[in-house]
């Protein structure tokens, strides 16, 4: 009886689930990806950020500096060593795209960053795929393959199913058998000994199917050598590991239910910050 009353009271309590429509891609206390806000010309000599980066994802050329956010572990060590304070901790965590190259950002002396080769949003290509029709309408089931992941991604996927993030409400479910899956979610740098297992799982899946790379290690290998996917992933989600809310927003984007383009939003974000 008391339990029943508690349920009734619960109906009137404010809900704890995150409203993903109202989110701007940042997390107030997380480090997020580093934002470069300096003057490229002054950065040619000092290579402190490049040296300290655990995954060596910073490249310094004359008049340009590029950050590969698909390889960034969001450790903020580059922020700490930059004496000129040209790199800042952004708190921006929504690092995912349908195109791997989009996660690489070049900052040059002309503008905040280079947009010259940015012709079409990455989602346009994804929309042409047969898998898109399915996931857009019905959501999807995924089978997760842990291929050398250090369990961070697994913990956070688990968390994304709690009542704060509520992944199932957007129509994304975990399934045990690849035969029931539409998406193969790969985490970890793809260890050599998992190649075979992963390929078997992939070949068992029925069409239409796609691979999503989950976590920085899957996107770029992170600290380790990167293995080979059975097929190029259709979506890349970076983060070490991606936060549960990032996963949900990334899946919503992948399903075409949310308008998000990493390059565009990141440019807006940096401009606002400056």
């Amino acid at each position: 009886m008391i339990g029943f009353l508690r349920e009734i009271i619960n109906i009137f309590k404010p809900h704890v689930t995150v409203d993903f429509r109202k989110h701007n891609g940042t997390s107030s206390k997380a480090r997020g990806i580093p934002a470069y806000i300096g003057d490229v010309d002054q950065c040619a000599e000092c290579r402190k950020c490049k040296t300290i980066c655990p995954t060596h994802c910073i490249e310094i050329q004359t008049n340009a500096i590029s950050f590969d956010y698909g390889a960034c572990l969001q450790c903020s060590l580059c922020v700490e060593v930059c004496e000129k304070e040209f790199i800042s901790e952004s708190g921006f965590v929504d690092v995912y795209s349908a195109r791997r190259e989009d996660l690489k950002i070049e900052y040059n002396s002309e503008g905040i960053f280079n947009t010259k080769e940015y012709e079409s949003p990455a989602m346009e290509t994804l929309r042409q795929e047969t898998i898109f029709e399915l996931v857009h309408k019905n959501g999807f089931n995924f089978r997760e393959i842990c291929a050398g992941s250090n369990t961070g991604v697994e913990w956070e996927i688990g968390a994304s199913y709690n009542n704060v993030f509520d992944m199932e409400s957007i129509g994304v479910r975990v399934v045990a058998s690849p035969k029931h899956a539409d998406i193969l979610l790969v985490s970890g740098p793809i260890s050599e000994n998992m190649h075979h297992g992963m390929n078997v799982a992939w070949n068992t899946m029925a069409d239409p199917k796609a691979i999503i790379a989950m976590g920085t290690e899957a996107v770029s290998g992170g600290l380790w050598r990167h293995g080979v996917f059975p097929e190029t992933p259709k979506f890349w989600i970076a983060g070490d590991p991606p936060r549960p809310d990032v996963m949900v927003r990334a899946f919503l984007t992948f399903m075409g239910r949310r308008d998000f383009d990493f390059k565009v939003k990141w440019l807006e974000f940096i401009k606002k910050g400056k």
């Binding site: 704890v16 107030s28 206390k29 997380a30 480090r31 300290i52 655990p54 572990l73 969001q74 450790c75 903020s76 060590l77 700490e80 060593v81 901790e89 708190g91 997760e144 393959i145 842990c146 291929a147 050398g148 992941s149 250090n150 369990t151 961070g152 697994e154 913990w155 956070e156 996927i157 688990g158 968390a159 199913y161 709690n162 009542n163 704060v164 975990v174 045990a176 058998s177 690849p178 970890g188 740098p189 260890s191 050599e192 000994n193 998992m194 297992g197 799982a201 992170g222 600290l223 380790w224 050598r225 070490d240 590991p241 936060r243």
Partner: protein, 470 residues
């Protein structure tokens, strides 16, 4: 009983002993063959240190002999005089079967969100006769990646071995570095490390309780725990900027989240008590339910005797009342909470799944208490100063050729040792995750249990695959 000790690591000419309270090193010139005959060295450790991979066919071995816990019987099939000792990696496996039994291979991909491994069950009807576990699928060649890297890079690489014990990993690593370069550490720094280590334990144990509840079909607690785990993770993120405390603990001075203000921290600390009260209410409800208790009692018992013999640690050992916990040798724990190592339960802990459920519940209480006690002592503003990459060249190095560091991860006692070469560079690394020794407990505990108990067993131990497959 108290004077017992077990070898917990082997590196170069050092033999590391675990006496329950601490890990200490002794010189030893024993070669592989001598170590093989030394019954104080668990076979798991030998397999980790010297293990080689070859195709295994044990189908001709008598099943009784395969199940024997005698060292000689185990070595009889794990050791081959022409090759060496068989490691943990899977290649090909045949296990002994009688014509009443059925053998079933599970893995490397398991059902659910879990790391890969090869589990070979042999079942008679519903009963598991034996279980043989082979790993190796997670191998990222971490030790190769560490070759000819700087001390700083090695810290980052090695602490990334397992995400769920990032703090414990980095703690053991930096203690090994700090004993090479002895230098005073501020008391706030010590307290900060303790807080992070206990926060990690707290987060994982809350998640584990939910996982265990899920595996026995008690979903209300699974729902509560998977949500409430966010609280310690949020605390970790507030302090460090990362939910898992990645790249935070550094030699001499750890990093601190620049975005965390003193007010934020005080406000969060105030929320600990109501959070715990609410969580306890749900866990107590599960504990007071006789069906849950009976479901878990006498399932997968690991005795204190076994823990000492095979070198188990962490909740695997402590749930059987074996006092194996190296936090006992850290004066800070006793200082902050004189009752910390006292038992707080009237329940009898026997080493079964139920005890492993309970020990996590009690550890949660203790971790919260010690986090709060440490937060009263700590000077937060001292931690907030800007982190600088340390310069080892400017420090006085000790003459020790080999230094080591230990930490009590939530899985058990973790050991890291470095061999130092010229110019204070690291020549050789020894990293021994508690799971190296603990994995055997799952094999032993499964025998004679029902196959339906296996998910519960596996979750109640929660060993690491990535920590063993470096």
């Amino acid at each position: 009983m108290e004077s017992r000790r077990v070898v917990t690591g082997l590196f170069e000419n050092l033999k590391f002993f675990h006496d329950g309270k601490s890990i200490f090193a002794e010189m030893s010139n024993a070669d592989f063959r001598q170590n093989l005959n030394d019954s104080s060295i668990p076979i798991s450790l030998l397999r980790y240190n010297y293990g080689l991979t070859w195709d295994e066919d044990y189908s001709r071995i008598d099943e009784e002999r395969y199940l024997s816990t005698h060292r000689m019987d185990q070595l009889n099939y794990l050791y081959d005089s022409s090759k060496g000792i068989r490691g943990f990696d899977y290649s090909r496996l045949e296990v002994p079967l009688t014509n009443l039994d059925y053998s079933h291979a599970v893995g490397p991909i398991h059902a659910g969100l879990i790391e890969p491994g090869h589990f070979r069950f042999s079942v008679r009807g519903e009963e598991m006769r034996h279980l043989t576990i082979r790993l190796g699928f997670q191998r990222r060649n971490i030790l190769d990646a560490c070759k000819s890297k700087s001390v700083f890079e090695i810290t980052n690489l090695l602490s990334s071995a397992t995400m769920d014990s990032s703090v414990a990993n980095s703690l053991a690593i930096i203690r090994a570095i700090e004993s090479k370069f002895p230098s005073p550490i501020s008391s706030s720094e010590e307290l900060y490390r303790l807080i992070l280590l206990e926060t990690e334990r707290l987060a994982v144990y809350v998640g584990d309780l939910g996982g265990i509840a899920g595996d026995v079909g008690f979903y209300p607690l699974l729902g509560v725990c998977s949500t409430e785990r966010g609280f310690p993770l949020g605390w970790m993120e507030l302090l460090t900027g990362s939910r898992f405390g990645r790249f935070v603990i550094m030699p001499f001075q750890s990093r601190f989240n620049g975005k965390a203000s003193l007010e934020d921290i005080q406000a969060y600390l105030k929320r600990f008590h109501p959070w715990l009260k609410n969580l306890n209410k749900h866990i107590e409800r599960a504990i007071s339910s006789s069906t849950l208790r009976e479901r878990m009692q006498n399932v997968g018992t690991v005795s204190a005797e076994q823990s000492w013999k095979y070198g188990f640690s962490g909740h695997t050992a402590r749930s059987s009342l074996a006092k194996i916990d190296i936090r006992q040798s850290e004066p800070l724990y006793e200082k902050l909470d004189s009752q910390f190592f006292q038992s707080i339960t009237s329940h009898k802990l026997t080493g079964d799944s139920w005890s492993r459920f309970l020990i996590r519940y009690y550890d949660i209480q203790k971790s919260v208490a010690i986090i709060q006690a440490a937060s009263k002592e700590i000077n937060w503003s001292e931690l907030k100063r800007r982190w600088k990459p340390y310069q080892l060249e400017n420090l006085n190095a000790s003459h020790e050729q080999i230094t080591y560091g230990v930490s009590e991860a939530w899985r058990g006692s973790l050991l890291v040792a470095f061999k130092w070469g010229a110019n204070n560079r690291i020549d050789k690394i020894y990293y021994r995750d508690p799971s190296v020794l603990n994995w055997l407990s799952l094999e032993l505990a499964s025998r004679g249990m029902l196959i339906g108990d296996f998910p519960l067993l596996n979750k109640s131990f929660n060993h690491s695959y990535a920590g063993v497959d470096l």
